[in-house]
Amino acid sequence: MKSLEELKAIREKVQSQMNLRDESGTDTRVVVGMATCGIAAGARPVLNKFVELVQGRNLTEIQVTQTGCIGMCRYEPIVEIHEPGKPSVTYIHMDAEKAEKVFNDHLLHGNVVTEYLIPAKMQA
C-alpha cells in the first residue's frame, strides 16, 4: 500500500516550486463534456489525454475541466477551448489522438484544427 509519507515529501517539493510561479495572465480553459452522452461516446480518454499533456508540461496557465451535457449529444465527445480575448472554439467527435493534435497545434501553437471543428450552422 502507498503511504502518506510519500505524499508529504511531494508536498514539500511542490510547495517550494509553487511559490516561484507567476499567477498573472492565466487561464485558457479546455472543457470536456462528461455527461452520460459524452462518457458513453468516449470522453474519458479525451479528458485523460488533455490532463496528461497539460500536466506533463506543467502548463499551469491551462485548466482542463469538465462540464455536463450541452444538448448536442450526437457530436460527443465535445471539447470546447476558451482562451482569454478570443472566441471560444468547439471540437466534436474527439478521441485521444485528436486531443493530442489539438493540444499541439491549438494550445501550444495557436492554430485551430479546422477539420475537427463543429460545422458553423450546427452551433447551438
Binding site: M1, E6, R11, K13, V14, A40, R44, V51, Q55, C69
Partner: protein
C-alpha cells in the same frame, strides 16, 4: 449502454456533484463466496422528493433542460439487473439528507460487463471536484476466509490534511493519487486471489 461498470460510476457520481454534495462515498465490494459485485454511491447532496425518486430510473425522465432523456441511472440499473442482480435508490429531500444508489451484479453472469478502470474513474472525480470529500472503499473477498488486507479506503480528507494548499491537480500529486489507487486496488485483488474483474 456503457462498455464498463466504472464508466457508469463516473456518470452516476456526476449527479452527486450536481446535487451539491460535499461528501461522497463510493464502495466497490467483490464477494466471490456470494458471487456478487456490489457498488454503492452515497452522497450528502440535496436528495430527491418522492415524485422524482419514482421517475428517476425512467430513461425518458430528466430534470435537465438541455435534452429530454436521462439515461445515466437507467443504464446503471439495467447493467445490474441484466446479470440477475439488483438495483436500489434511497433518497430524501433537504439539505445534506442525500441519496444512496446501490447496484448489485452477479459476478459470474455472462451479461456482466467488466468492472473496468475504477482507479481512473476515482482519479477523475477526485481531481476534477476537489472541493468534495471523496471516500473510496474497495474490498475483495476470496471464496474461503477473507484476509486482513483485502480492502483499502482512500479518503481525500487525509490527503488534504497532508497537502494543505497544494492542489490535487499538481502533476506530482495527481500522479500520486493515480498510483495509490492503482497499486492499492491491485494489492486487494491479489490478496483475494482475483486475477481480473
Amino acid at each position: 449502454m456503457m462498455p464498463e461498470i466504472s464508466l457508469n460510476v463516473l456518470d452516476v457520481a456526476q449527479n452527486c456533484v450536481r446535487a451539491g454534495a460535499t461528501k461522497v462515498r463510493i464502495d466497490v465490494d467483490i464477494n466471490r463466496a456470494q458471487n456478487t459485485l456490489t457498488i454503492s454511491i452515497a452522497d450528502n447532496g440535496c436528495g430527491m422528493d418522492e415524485d422524482t425518486l419514482a421517475k428517476v430510473t425512467d430513461p425518458f425522465y430528466t430534470t435537465r433542460t438541455t435534452r429530454k432523456v436521462g439515461l445515466g441511472v437507467s443504464f446503471f440499473k439495467q447493467a445490474a439487473e441484466l446479470t440477475g442482480g439488483s438495483f436500489a435508490i434511497d433518497s430524501k429531500t433537504g439539505e445534506g439528507s442525500g441519496t444512496t444508489v446501490t447496484a448489485r451484479f452477479l459476478l459470474d453472469s455472462i451479461d456482466r460487463m467488466p468492472l473496468g478502470d475504477m482507479p481512473g474513474t476515482m482519479h477523475t472525480l477526485i481531481t476534477m471536484h476537489e472541493r468534495i470529500r471523496w471516500q473510496y472503499h474497495f474490498s475483495a473477498y476470496a471464496e474461503d476466509k477473507p484476509k486482513d488486507d483485502s480492502s483499502f479506503l482512500l479518503d481525500t480528507k487525509e490527503l488534504k490534511d497532508v497537502l494543505g494548499d497544494v492542489p490535487f491537480t499538481e502533476p506530482e500529486v495527481s500522479a500520486y493519487i493515480m498510483d495509490s489507487l492503482k497499486e492499492n486496488s491491485a494489492e486487494v485483488l491479489r490478496n483475494a486471489g482475483i486475477e481480473s474483474i
